[in-house]
Symmetry: C2
Subunit: 417 residues, 2 copies
C-alpha cells in the first residue's frame, strides 16, 4: 500500500500556520480576502507551480491547480479552503488543501500517470466570517451564487469583496477552470467530538447538516434606565437576549439533533444606564433533517415577533445564509469505508455538523468527505489539534479514494459498489 | 414676585447644546473629560467670570462659581453637571447649571445682596458613561471617594482620568472650594414620564432610588457552532442573555418599583458561527427601598451563579457603582412646595428614578431637588425636551427657594417648616 509522507504533510500545514498566526498561540486569523489570506494564497499558488500544476484563478478568487491526466475525461477534484475565522486553528480547511498537494507530490514521486486529471482546489471565503454567506467560493464556482452579486458583498468592516480583490491584487486568469467534474472528495478535520468519543480514526461522512443563519435587528427606544417604568420600556437588548435564550432552549424540543447559537450580538448605545435603542443578534440553527430545521426556524421567528410585539420594538429579519441538509454520494462513502477497512483504520459513519465546500460541489458531481478526529472536539479555536497519526490516516484514505476515481473510466462514479 | 428671564435661560441652554451637538439632532455627546466636555466647561467658566463670580476648580475638575454674601456664613449651593451620555439631550444637567447662573444674573440685575454667598457648582462626570462610578465629581467633593483613586479610574476607552485632565489642560485652582455648605438645591428635568402623566409642572423630589450597577464577565469556550453538541457547550453569550432576561423578569416579583436594565453587552469573538468564549454584560438595578434592592441584587447574583455553573462557564462579578436610596431634606421639600403653591404651579411629590449629585451633597448638608417635566418621559436620548414654560416654572421655584436659604441666619435649614 502506498504511504503518504506525513512529515512533509505536517511541515506544510505548520508552514501555512505561520501566515496569520495569532501571537504566541497555535492558531491563525486569516479572514477571507485579508492581507493574511493573500499571503497564504500566494504560498499555495507558488507550491502548486513547484509541483508542476497548471494554476488558474476564477472571478471570486478560487484557486485550481491541475495535474494533467492521460485522457480528456473530466477531472477528479479534491481540496478545501485556507481562509479562517478570527480565532481559527491550523487544520480547519488547510488539511484538505495540503493533503491534496501531498497526493500530487506522491503521484509525481512515484511517476504515476492517471486516466483523469487531478485538480486541487482552494475555495475562497469558505468561513463566511467576514463576508456572508459562507462557502461563497464554491457557490460561485458551482453556479448558484452570481459572481457579480458575490463581488458586491459588503463585509463586517464595510468594504466590498470587489474592493478587497483589487486591494490585494487578485484577478482571474485567462485559463478557465474545469466545470465538468468527475467527482469531488474533501479531507477535513471533524471539528467536533464524535470521532474521539467513538474511538474512530476515519469519519465516513454521510452528509451535512442544514444551516440557517438569521440576523435579527431590534429597534427600541433609548431612554434613562432609572426613570422609565418597566411597563413603558421598548428595550431592544432585552428582546435580543430573549430570542437568544429561546433559541437555545428550543433545541431540546426539536428532533434531529437541533443546534442553536447566538454567536454575534451588539447593542446601541451600549451604556450601563441607557435602555438600548437597537440590538443586532444572529441565530445559527442547524439540523440534519430539513423539516425539523424549518420547524425550528418557524418557532424562533414566531417567538421573535411575539417578543418584539410585546415590548413594542420593531423587528427586521434578514437571512444571512441557508443551506438544506445534503447527502453525499453513497459510492464515495463506500470507497472511503473500503479504504479504511483495507488499512485497518477504525471508521464511523456520521453527518457533518459544519458546512463544507463539498456540500456545494455535491450539486454538480458525486461528492464526499473524509473526517479525521479533532482532539477534544475543539475547532474555530486557537487550540484546534489533530494528531499526526490521524492526519496520516486521513491522507492515505484520500489517496486511495482519489486513485480509484482518477483511473475510473465510467462517466458516473458507480464502480466498486 | 420676581420673574426669571426665560428667553435668556433658553438661549444659554441652546448655546451649550451647540457644543458636542450630534449631527442634525437636538442632542449632544459630551462624555466626561472629552474635548467636547472641555469646550463646554470653558464656556461656563467664561460665563461665570462675566457674571462676576469667583471661580475655583478642584482636583477632579468640579467648577465652583461663587457670588459673595454679606456675611461669612456658610454658602448656599446650587448647580448640576454638563457632561452627557453618548446619546444625550440638551437639558439633562445643563438646566440646573444654566438656571443657577440665571439666578445669579437676576440677583446682579436687581442689585440684591444676600446674607450668605451663593455658589453655582458644575460637578464633573455625573453620568459615569465613560468613567465609573457616576456622580464622581460630587463624591470626590463630598469626600466619600478618594481623589487619587478617582484620578486613576480607567475609562471605557482604556485611558485614565488623570491622563485626560492633563490632555485637556484641567488643573485645580489655588482657591479652595467651600466645604461647609448651608444647603444644596438642584433643578433638573425629571427624565421620566411621571410629571407629564400626572399633569404637574413641579416635582417635589422626596429622594433618590438606590442604584446598583454590576458587571458580569462570563468565560466559556469558543467552539464551532455546527459540530459541538448542545450538551457539551460552554456558551458565554447564552449565560449573559439568560442573566439579562432573568433580571428583567425579576422586576415584577420585587416590591418597591424595581427596575432592571442590561444596557451594555459585548461578546467575543462575535462571529455568527462561533460559540462565544467571553461575554460581558452590565445589570443596572434600582429601587426606592434598600431592602428590596438588596433582595434583587441577591437574586440576580444567585441566578447568574447558577446559570454559569450549569453551562460550565466562569463568572466574574464586579460592582461598578452602588448607592443606597436617599431621602432629601423635608425642610427643602416644604420650601419647594410652598413656592409652587404661591406661584400657582401644580406639583407632585415623587422619588427620583435617576441618580443626581444632590444625593451625594445630602451626605454633607440639607439637600433637595426640583423636577420639571420631560416630554414623553424621554431622556438620555437626542429627543429629550422640556417646554420653555416648564423650564421657567422650575427656575422661578429655584429662585424662591435659594433666596430664602440665602437670607436664612439659622445654622440648620429649619426655618419656614
Amino acid at each position: 500500500m502506498v504511504m503518504i509522507n506525513i512529515d512533509r504533510l505536517c511541515a506544510r500545514i505548520n508552514a501555512l500556520a505561520e501566515i496569520g498566526r495569532v501571537g504566541d498561540t497555535h492558531g491563525v486569523c486569516r479572514l477571507a480576502f485579508s492581507d493574511e489570506d493573500r499571503l497564504a494564497r500566494d504560498h499555495i499558488a507558488q507550491l502548486m507551480h513547484t509541483l508542476g500544476l497548471a494554476v488558474s484563478v476564477d472571478g471570486i478568487g478560487n484557486i485550481f491547480g491541475k495535474r494533467a491526466g492521460q485522457t480528456e475525461r473530466s477531472p477528479v477534484m479534491t481540496g478545501s479552503h485556507i481562509d479562517s475565522v478570527r480565532t481559527g486553528g491550523r487544520y480547519d480547511g488547510t488539511l484538505g488543501v495540503a493533503a491534496g498537494l501531498e497526493v500530487v507530490e506522491r503521484l509525481n514521486e512515484l511517476g504515476i500517470d492517471t486516466e483523469r486529471a487531478l485538480v486541487v482546489a482552494v475555495f475562497a471565503n469558505e468561513e463566511g466570517a467576514r463576508f456572508q454567506p459562507d462557502m461563497m467560493g464554491s457557490l460561485v464556482f458551482q453556479g448558484d451564487l452570481d459572481l457579480v452579486q458575490a463581488l458586491d458583498t459588503i463585509g463586517i468592516d464595510g468594504t466590498s469583496i470587489r474592493d478587497n480583490l483589487r486591494r490585494i491584487g487578485i484577478a482571474p486568469t485567462t485559463r478557465t477552470p474545469d466545470k465538468a467534474i468527475h467527482a469531488f472528495v474533501e479531507l477535513h478535520i471533524e471539528q467536533g467530538p464524535v470521532l474521539e468519543r467513538t474511538g474512530a480514526t476515519i469519519g465516513v461522512v454521510e452528509g451535512v447538516q442544514g444551516i440557517s443563519w438569521t440576523e435579527f435587528t431590534i429597534g427600541g427606544s433609548s431612554n434613562h434606565a432609572g426613570t422609565t417604568p418597566m411597563s413603558m420600556r421598548r428595550d431592544a437588548a432585552f428582546v435580543a437576549c430573549d430570542i437568544a435564550v429561546f433559541a437555545r432552549r428550543l433545541c431540546s424540543a426539536i428532533a434531529g439533533n437541533q443546534l442553536a447559537t447566538a454567536g454575534s450580538m451588539s447593542v446601541f448605545p451600549n451604556l450601563v444606564n441607557v435602555i438600548p435603542s437597537k440590538a443586532v443578534i444572529t441565530i445559527d440553527l442547524r439540523n440534519t433533517n430539513e423539516e425539523q430545521l424549518k420547524l425550528a426556524e418557524r418557532r424562533v421567528l414566531a417567538y421573535a415577533k411575539d417578543a418584539a410585539a410585546s415590548d413594542g420594538t420593531t423587528l427586521d429579519v434578514r437571512t444571512l445564509a441557508r443551506f438544506e441538509p445534503v447527502s453525499f454520494s453513497p459510492q464515495i462513502m463506500s470507497r472511503v469505508a473500503r479504504s479504511a477497512a483495507t488499512r485497518s483504520l477504525r471508521m464511523h459513519r456520521m453527518p457533518s455538523g459544519a458546512g463544507h465546500d463539498a456540500q456545494i460541489l455535491a450539486r454538480m458531481c458525486p461528492a464526499g468527505m473524509i473526517f479525521v478526529p479533532s482532539v477534544g472536539g475543539v475547532s474555530h479555536n486557537f487550540n484546534e489539534f489533530t494528531r499526526p497519526d490521524d492526519l496520516e490516516a486521513g491522507a492515505m484514505v484520500l489517496w486511495d479514494v482519489l486513485l480509484e476515481l482518477l483511473n475510473e473510466r465510467d462517466p458516473a462514479s458507480t464502480a466498486g459498489i
